[in-house]
Symmetry: C2
Subunit: 451 residues, 2 copies
């Protein structure tokens, strides 16, 4: 299977080459050809299959095709969450955030009736962002319809929208679909939900964890979507995580907020931060395990570690489905004076178009890593810098190592999973950021995304 994928990826690269060459020849038809309308091939970095997710007691899912924008596929998901559940969330810090994001933030910040239960409704195909007063009206229409159908107060219905920015949301299509969604609710419907929220994603993303706690097991399961405009800032793309743990909203929010920096805020596909990033975490309290009440307890630590692993897994899957990605790359910065500096350097390397195109071309052009470190704005000393690919040190103390081997460096670049190491030699702070390469396919996808 790996071999087959590799061959298919090669075919895609050759096809892109043919397109590029045809473009150069001035073959108008070829240049304008709807490459982007060809079926989106599955990322070569995709996991073999969608994981088997545990049922989270107290949560049920459904999905349907409401025709928001796409034809012939599901595009709306609903999650119903049982009474008593606690909910936490993190959202984009964009100054132009979407109406649904503002609505979620307001609802989580207000007085909350946890006893009533809750729901999440998400559509793909239209982001309902930069849609003015009409945007909030659409959110109200959709969340009210769900609240009425499920007998919930409107302030416990959260909504997200993902897709094109600036076009009014045809919310009546979603409202019409609500009764069908309610009827179809199913505790095992999480994979269908993961598929309904995809836009340019080439595979649905899911992850789970189980904690053996005192009194019984605690389960966590989550889904996410990517795949472009991925440079989360204090938030993420669309992610929904559910657990049967018993835990207050306050503790849940605290854990979520502090785990987001190393997970979703540590990935970037294209340096573009979305208007719609949202991560909602719901805890139903249905596990027989004892309530988590103290952050310093073993139970809390175990739960937070499991939550982190689910978040990290989903974040990595988003990178693996980065638009056009053929390489999964960790940029591992160490020896910084502060974590903020390490983060700056890692992001500068991970977002550098020159580094990303060299990765795509399997060119061991580590000089571009040096340039990216230099432009990052973080404290760096050229003569203390060490650059490595995997375990291979390529440069240190401001120059190439004496036994530098172009062959070995080039051979390393052929791999599908790469680690670029940057040690600043200044302190003890470290940070890893995860990214992918920049290929022709990214341009194919984005030069004509809307049509």
């Amino acid at each position: 299977m790996g071999k087959k994928k590799e061959l298919e990826a090669r075919i895609d690269r050759l096809k892109a080459k043919v397109r590029a060459l045809k473009g150069k020849l001035g073959d108008g038809a070829a240049a304008a050809a709807p490459a982007t309308k060809a079926k989106n091939p599955v990322s070569p970095l995709a996991p073999a299959a969608f994981p088997a997710l545990p049922v989270i007691e107290g949560v049920a899912f459904s999905a349907t095709a409401a025709g928001v924008r796409y034809a012939g596929r599901t595009d709306v998901m609903l999650a119903r969450i049982a009474p008593g559940a606690t909910i936490a969330g993190v959202f984009t810090t964009s100054a132009t955030r979407a109406a649904c994001v503002l609505d979620c933030q307001a609802k989580l910040a207000g007085t909350v009736d946890e006893a009533a239960g809750a729901a999440i409704i998400v559509n793909s195909g239209n982001a309902n962002a930069f849609t003015g007063a009409a945007g909030q009206a659409s959110v109200d229409a959709v969340t009210t319809a769900v609240a009425d159908a499920l007998g919930l107060p409107a302030h416990r219905v959260f909504s997200s929208s993902t897709g094109v920015i600036g076009e009014p949301l045809p919310h009546e299509r979603i409202v019409e679909a609500v009764s069908k969604l309610v009827t179809a609710l199913d505790a095992e419907g999480m994979e269908a939900a993961a598929r309904a929220i995809m836009t340019t994603d080439t595979f649905p993303k899911g992850a789970s964890a189980e904690i053996a706690a005192e009194g019984g097991a605690i389960h966590i399961a989550g889904i996410a979507k990517g795949s472009g405009m991925i440079a989360p800032n204090m938030a993420t793309m669309l992610v929904y995580i559910f657990t049967d743990a018993k835990i207050s909203a306050k503790l849940l929010q605290k854990m979520l907020s502090r785990q987001v920096d190393d997970t979703f805020n540590a990935i970037t596909v294209d340096s573009d931060t979305s208007t719609s990033d949202a991560l909602i975490l719901a805890a139903t309290g249905k596990s027989p395990a004892a309530e988590i009440t103290d952050l310093r307890s073993k139970a809390a630590k175990d739960f937070e570690a499991a939550l982190r692993s689910v978040m990290m897994d989903l974040a990595h899957q988003v990178v693996r489905d980065g638009e056009g990605a053929t390489k999964f790359v960790e940029v591992r910065v160490s020896g910084a004076e502060t974590v903020a500096d390490a983060h700056k350097v890692a992001m500068a390397v991970a977002n550098s178009p020159l580094v990303k195109t060299a990765l795509a071309g399997e060119d061991a052009n580590w000089g571009r890593v040096v340039a990216a470190v230099g432009k990052s704005g973080a404290k760096a000393d050229r003569d203390r810098l060490r650059i490595s690919f995997g375990d291979m040190v390529l440069a240190e103390n401001g120059a190439r190592v004496p036994d530098y081997s172009e062959e070995a460096a080039s051979a390393y670049m052929k791999g599908q999973e790469l680690v670029i190491g940057v040690d600043l030699g200044l302190g003890d702070a470290a940070k890893s950021v995860f990214t992918c390469d920049l290929t022709h396919r990214y341009i194919d996808i984005n030069a004509d995304y809307r049509s």
Copy 2:
């Protein structure tokens, strides 16, 4: 296995297609050579011809093929500047700047013997960046050879290197070429010099201005190279500007420094800041015009305006030769609270891969402009934002305009010169930044630049 064979056969067919298309693209050698080695087609945004540059009295140029990296083309230029000339410079703020940049900065900051004259030597093909102590030794070898050959003190010989980062500079090839360069010095050799400093540039860049001053004319002429790793920060790529004005180094530096923000610091091709950016401005004082001694005088203002126009012209040419560029785009931000905020927003839009790929695809996806404004970190209010393409307002007050026309917006995108307007509606500060689109060719060029 049958499936595998079928895929391999497909790869073979695609390879044959690639070969055939390459053959059609021109020279027979190209058929066998990798795509990136095919002749770099001239940017569609290139000026019709290299401009006729005036002779700057007191400066002579030469160029030669020293074989630093490229074969069959010139790759080293020398400029000799007459005794009495004053010199100013601005350089990259990269923390990993090249040895030659550090050397220029040290020489300009030290005690200077203006009576002795000066020289500039530049090579392409190797950046002599991140080359440790060997890097400074190479700079010393090259500048000493020039100083000896021209009878100059070494502290008045400035050098630049541009090309691959991290490989030792074969400086002996440049040293060997010095006597040939000195013999060939010619007051009319500026175009040859502009050609010798090109790397992935597809056309040489020159610009000039003439000021009718009291006592006689003052001339300014300059050359520059781009074309990738272009996101200057308080400096620029490689730019050399010469004038016969009589003006102190202090005044010259003051004018240069304050004009760089709106010119070279206002362009970006790919958000990557070089290790080697350098702009050197030399004034020979050979014009019969009176010395410029007061920044507030008409003579100073006229000269500074002319200098700005030459800098702006060269900066725009660098964008027009941005790797793979097919569109020249001004991002014009107004209504900001501060110029710094306007700059942040303009750069966020100009560097957004999603905006740049939409430009390449001629897709009027203005929602991506909104998202870029949102992520910029500058103060912005969604509900006061106005987005326009050329004279056409697409969105204002947080939503699409009622009479929005997709046809009109799409028609505008077909143009080669585009203006994206963003009015923040918050204040009076404005800033324009110049950029190009992100096309397949950028990836072709950069996925395999070193080989």
